[in-house]
Amino acid sequence: MLNVRELHVSYGGIRALRGVSLEVNEGEIVTIIGANGAGKSTLLNTISGFLKPAKGELEFKGHKLGRQPAKIVQLGICHVPEGRLVFTNLTVRDNLLLGAYLRTDRKAIAADLEKVYALFPRLKERERQLAGTLSGGEQQMLAMGRALMTDGQLVLMDEPSLGLAPLLVKTVFEIIVEIRKLGKTILLVEQNAFKALEVADRAYVLEQGKVVKSGRACDIAQDPAVRAAYLGSKSVAGGM
């Protein structure tokens, strides 16, 4: 579904991605784990068209991806940004409707709104409230709901559990599984590698802008080096 080939991205002089290749197949949950600054968010932002790759190719369902975010949304890639970025002075409902900005079929939009409310009953309860009055967890749900309203097939999620209480973290990962059941494909970037590997089918480990390991999530979770670096295992981490 999504093919990333030999992607290089730089910010000024800093090379954030140095030849990343990965693929995401329809219906999968794929996770990218790695330390802060490994290039995880850079990768998602490049797929969404916010950053310009220096080299490399991005392909989604046979279409080459360029640098126009709106076009990429139209092709069916939606993005749940890091830090949620909800529109704080708009109502919950307006936030969700903004997700459907590029769609014109009112009936389908209304039906999807109901689907999102079914997935997140809390949002239905708070439909008329300003998004800024929601708790962090509710805002994360709103950001996910907004992305679902684009009717995208591939959902990019950037650190959905960041800054949430442990109980809510659990809920967020349950929701991710629910979203897959809606027929979506998910590319998940997470610092909470343990949880991410639990829900994912496959995983890529990113280190300093390069994929250093990839494979089935359950295998990656058992990998001693990964366990040492990201899962807090007792064994001594390899030298940097």
Binding site: F50, Q74, P81, N89
Partner: protein, 301 residues
């Protein structure tokens, strides 16, 4: 009616046109401009050309002024709207000054000496009618889905893009609307005073407009209207204090900004529905406070 009072009402009405436009740009879309006097200047001079040189009626001059300023805004927007935050603001500042300097050196239009003997076409009625039309149009624009998209651009530009919103397009619409209204205000100004000079449209004029929008409250049409009424009238009310009146004006702005940083009525509207909403929020808040207090007392016992 007293000619003096009429004069104040006309000036307020003219300011209101420019402020309404800036409210769309700054209050709702989140772009700060320090060059809107430049658009007023374009409107004033285009209007003067149409009425004085071409001898066309005042209505045509007003429409031409709006179209002229709007057209220039599209050009400027193409060049500058991709700039982020402060850089856009600085670009508008440069634009405003550039327009003023060009007019200063444009001999055919009077240059720095100004352009006099414009027809005195402005009456209290045509100002108020155009104001009413502008308020209705701006109100409808902001309460449509376009208004919602503009607020989204102001709140989280990146997230708006992620939803597929064409951020550039909405910034452009906001800039165009604000420039067209500023252009109209400029033409009204010229045909009210019958004399225009580039000095009228300096940076002080631009900042005055921005101050009114912030003072009234960002994201509120009624706030902008209230701000215009108060800040145009204040210097007149304090006129008896002669040279001290601008000090009072400054103090009044400072007091409001310290006391209410969100502006007089930022983010709210003085409509029946808006007032009900504010009242409901107040009630909910005091109920919550009462509940918290009760819980606290219960805990002490």
């Amino acid at each position: 009616m007293d000619a003096y009072i009429q004069g104040i009402i006309i000036l307020t009405g003219i300011n209101l046109l420019a402020v309404l436009g800036l409210s769309v740009l700054t209050g709702f879309t989140g772009l700060f401009s320090f060059g809107h006097a430049g658009f007023m200047a374009i409107g004033a001079y285009v209007g003067a050309i149409f009425s004085s040189k071409l001898g066309l009626p005042f209505a045509a001059a007003i429409v031409a002024a709006a179209a002229g300023a709007g057209a220039v805004s599209v050009l400027i927007g193409r060049l500058t709207l991709k700039l982020k935050g402060d850089y856009f603001c600085i670009a508008t500042l440069g634009f405003g000054e550039a327009i003023r300097l060009i007019l200063n050196n444009w001999k055919w239009a009077g240059g720095a000496r100004g352009w006099d003997n414009l027809p005195a076409s402005v009456t209290i009625w045509n100002v108020l009618i155009v104001d009413a039309i502008a308020v209705v149009l701006v109100w409808n624009l902001l309460n449509s889905r376009h208004g919602r998209n503009m607020v989204a651009v102001r709140e989280e530009e990146l997230a708006a893009q992620m939803a597929g919103v064409n951020v550039f397009r909405y910034k452009m619409i906001a800039l165009f609307v604000s420039a067209a209204l500023a252009g109209m205000a400029g033409a009204f100004m010229g045909h009210y005073m019958t004399y225009i000079t580039p000095k009228l449209f300096n940076m002080v004029k631009s900042t005055d407009l921005t101050i009114i929008v912030i003072f009234g409250g960002l994201g509120s049409v009624s706030g902008s209207i209230l701000g215009t009424l108060l800040l145009t009238a204040l210097p007149e009310i304090f006129r008896a204090f002669s040279q001290w009146r601008l000090v009072f004006y400054g103090l009044a702005v400072i007091v409001i900004m310290v006391g209410r940083p969100q502006g007089l009525i930022g983010g709210m509207e003085l409509t029946p529905a808006g007032i009900r909403k504010i009242a409901a929020e107040r009630r909910a808040k005091s109920a919550l406070a009462a509940a918290a207090k009760a819980a606290e007392q219960g805990g002490e016992e």
